[in-house]
Symmetry: C2
Subunit: 124 residues, 2 copies
């Protein structure tokens, strides 16, 4: 059976998160074995927060859960791609739809992404 | 000026690579500052090979260069998203269009992705 190889990245694998409908890349986060198993069992994206060193059910504060539609693994078994339905329409804690809301243009990154919510209203 | 923060990940940032046309996620690789600057200057995706510990111009062996169309940076400045034109039609060294050619189905990952070339013919 093929499964993510957690041995390479200090117990973690990166997970790229893509909107299942629009195919926009929404964010990237990390999973350890515990969060991987929780994701598969619950059908909701669950990560490992490196800053908090804790299991992180995406959406547990905001209600903006990520419902798993498809999961892909890369050729080296060390990176995952999740296709999700993003509840609330935004994945980024800044309120933008995607964490990748700034684009390189004329030597600097400029905001191009859509802001869906005001973080002050969502994270109280 | 906003630029990638190479300090967090031991001098490296992950770069997600997406087909600029179809929005398929093709692969993920790592960049150090040198490969980042080479990418911006040349317009061809250039990574840092962690296994070879060397600059890696994607396509230098196969001819399957990745022509940069857009570059995005995430909210923490520590992950990049490249939208590219994938020459040769395949990003994966296995000959598949995407490195994410296996999908979780019934508890195991099964091949669903398209194979574009025979690696034995391309990497001689």
């Amino acid at each position: 059976m093929i499964e993510p190889d957690f041995s390479k990245g200090d117990g973690l694998v990166p997970a790229i998160v893509q909107d299942a409908g629009t195919k926009d890349v929404l964010m990237m986060a990390y999973m350890n074995r515990q969060s991987w198993e929780a994701t598969v069992q619950s059908g909701k994206a669950t990560y490992w927060s490196r800053s908090r060193q804790a299991l992180w059910i995406k959406g547990e504060s905001s209600g903006h859960f990520q419902i798993i539609k498809n999961i892909f693994i890369d050729c080296d078994n060390d990176t995952l791609l999740l296709q999700v339905e993003q509840l609330g329409g935004a994945a980024c804690h800044t309120g933008h739809r995607s964490c990748f809301y700034r684009k390189l243009s004329g030597g600097d990154f400029v905001v191009v992404g859509e802001k869906i919510f005001d973080p002050k209203e969502v994270y109280k």
